[in-house]
């Protein structure tokens, strides 16, 4: 597989970004500002991320609604045109989460299904549609001042509400805007035609958006307790174990993997996703064992230093009987770190 480059690649290189492979794409991990400053910009003002590596599969036509309804766990009847929904595609036989997806309901019979970069092909296999990933860039503007930044390019775009979707022109380019993101902050994601992407990026940067890389995106989503496919979701992990039953509509009579998930629910779960706060600055990364009374009760799925909190945090799958408040130990290459089980998220959005 050849490595794909973002339509914004030239902009990232101008800015001196450090690039790295991510999900088959070469993407900016950090700019010379550094991950910690980029992270703080998103929490305190406005950061902007190139997330063009996310997939877009456009499903349209009179059968589009039913197609998505029968494939995904969440119920599109809960929303309507002009809204976005978080949903899962499950394995038919063991209800593992094959991908977690945001659906943008763009027009009556037009849906933009947004898989994770490396899962675009398997999602398209399940739902058909047209892969339009190469036609657009996606710029995510996130943070308490995200809307002020977007408003300087387009006052109208800045009014798109949380989990709302709208099509409109920004600086003369036909864009799709959604009030979605992956940072735990308010913000907007803008799909812009490839040929106009660099111009929009520069306009948003000039308006005060701080370019931020995927390194900061990862520490931000971790603080917000948001799952990353391949860590908190994936083979051998169903939505119930990941604490995401709210994205499963049992009211729907059929969806892919429903039977397998129902059976698992009735049998009882063996593990659940929790948060752990850790004393000190030493990260307990994915794969770290979680111990209680000298016994391994679980495993860290993602962990890092929390720039906002100033200490380390981790998400982990542990045995279902582990209560909130439980003191645990984490085995970081032989050094035992003290942790405490908490309810996610670590950092809640400021109201």
């Amino acid at each position: 597989m050849s490595v794909k480059v973002s339509p914004l690649d030239v902009v990232h290189r101008e800015l001196g970004a450090k690039m790295a492979a991510f999900g088959g794409w070469e993407m900016p991990i950090t700019y010379p500002t550094g991950t910690l400053i980029e992270h703080a910009a998103c929490r305190n003002s406005a950061a902007m991320f190139d997330v063009s590596h996310l997939g877009t599969v456009r499903v349209s036509g009179v059968n589009a609604f039913e197609c998505l309804q029968s494939a995904f766990t969440n119920d599109l009847n809960k929303i309507s045109v002009g809204r976005a929904q978080y949903t899962h595609l499950l394995d038919q036989f063991d209800a593992s989460v094959l991908d977690d997806i945001i659906v943008w309901w763009v027009r009556d019979d037009v849906f933009d299904v947004m898989p994770n970069a490396s899962n675009t092909a398997r999602v398209q296999e399940a739902i058909g549609g047209v892969d339009t990933t190469d036609t657009r860039a996606i710029i995510a503007v996130q943070g308490p001042q995200a809307r002020q930044v977007v408003a300087k390019a387009s006052p109208q775009a800045a009014t798109v509400g949380r989990f709302r979707v709208a099509e409109m022109e920004i600086l003369g380019a036909r864009c799709t805007i959604a009030g979605t993101g992956y940072t735990g902050e308010d913000g907007l994601e803008i799909a812009v035609p490839v040929a106009r992407a660099a111009e929009l990026w520069r306009a948003l940067a000039a308006a005060g958006g701080v370019p931020a890389g995927l390194g900061a995106r990862d520490t931000l989503r971790l603080e917000a307790g948001l799952p990353l496919h391949g860590h908190e979701l994936g083979d051998g992990i169903n939505p119930l174990e990941a604490g995401l039953e709210w994205a499963v509509s049992w009211d729907k009579e059929t969806f892919r993997g429903r039977g397998a998930l129902k059976a698992t629910k009735e049998t009882g779960l063996t593990k659940k996703l929790i948060g752990i706060t850790i004393e000190g600055r030493r990260p307990a990364r994915d794969g770290t064992s979680v111990l209680l009374n000298d016994e391994i009760i679980g495993c860290v799925s993602s962990g890092n230093f929390s720039p906002t909190l100033g200490y380390c945090i981790a998400m982990a799958f542990v045995s279902v009987d582990t209560p909130v408040g439980q003191d645990v130990l984490l085995d970081v290459r032989g050094t035992m770190l003290e942790g405490k089980v908490i309810k996610l998220p670590f950092v809640a959005k400021k109201k």
Partner: protein
């Protein structure tokens, strides 16, 4: 790329200051830039004997964990305690306040380290 001419270097991107027997050690500007924002360092233990090229410290950045290799054999005689609460000093001042430790070594071993010129060649500059 900041490369002081008065230091000696290793191919693992550490620097060594002084003519011995007591020398000061840190990581290079190139290394700190490659690691990204540093959030933690496991300092070596004062009094420990270290072998050349053995891992004797760990640096954690927001990206990953990385070993620091002893540029020279000897005994650890001091560590930079300031890094416990301010590990970012390694990023902001790698040759100054971001020093890692001091080792007492055999001065003749220093001849095996790289000059600034040789290290620059190794970096491809």
């Amino acid at each position: 790329m900041n490369l002081p001419t008065n230091l000696r270097y290793t191919s693992d991107h550490e620097w060594v200051a002084g003519d011995g027997p007591r020398v000061r050690i840190g990581i290079t500007d190139y290394a700190q830039d490659a690691l990204g924002d540093i959030v933690f360092i496991q300092l070596p233990t004062v009094g420990n004997t270290v072998a050349k090229s053995a891992s004797f410290s760990e640096i954690e950045s927001t990206k990953s964990v990385n070993d620091v290799y002893a540029p020279i054999a000897g005994v650890v005689v001091a560590v930079n305690e300031l890094l416990g609460s301010k590990p970012e000093l390694i990023n902001t001042d790698p040759y100054g306040d971001g020093w890692i430790c001091e080792i007492e070594c055999n001065p003749s071993d220093l001849e095996n380290l790289l000059t600034e010129e040789a290290y620059k060649l190794l970096l491809g500059h």
